[in-house]
Amino acid sequence: MSVIVRTISRVVAPVALAFGAYVIMHGHLTPGGGFQGGAVVASVVALLVVAFESGRWKKWKDVLLPLEDLGAMAFTILAFLGLGATFFRNILAGGGGLFGAPVPQLGPNPGALNTAGTLPLMNWAVGLKVIAGLGSVVILLSLFGREDG
């Protein structure tokens, strides 16, 4: 792409990356979650692929495809953790350990990061899965038809 597109991409990409990471990490406190934040980060990958198209994205594809399986497996294992009661039972909530603190007060409040049990872990798993899945799809489509694809 042209110099204008490359310069704007260099400015926009870190900001959008930080916003996507924020949306994933604060999924249990603010609007958003794993899917939305993963879509934002995957759009950063798409922006970089469109702006700097070359064959060097090929090795990124080989990294991203196993990461997608890892995210899916982590999500399913977290769901199976609660199988003593029901599937998707939130066993960490209110337990006092990791992410086990109760909400600071009932009703509207700023919230604390160390709450909500398995929800943040599931947000990370789904976010990893969406980043890797959509990013590898975009990279594969950009490599289609090339000699080194």
């Binding site: 009703g107 909500a116 599931m122 789904v126 590898s136 594969l140």
Partner: protein, 88 residues
Amino acid sequence: MKRWFFFAMLLILAGYLLGGSVWLRPFGEPPRSEMDRYFIENAQTEVAANNVVTAIVFDYRGYDTLGEATVLFAAVVGVVLLLRKVKE
């Protein structure tokens, strides 16, 4: 003839959509709200999450998210299979 048929179908569809948007229910007044009340009142004590939407998506209705993850996985597998490199 075919053209007029499609035009009539388009008019009917547009009429349905316009009617649906004009005679919409008032904003924020669902016909039944027992389940919404339950989620809003109990999500903070049961799941300890401030974001009730995330509490529903990942805890109360976790099967929906599992299905969504399966759909995304199937889409990625389809793209990888379709765009793989074939040895001549």
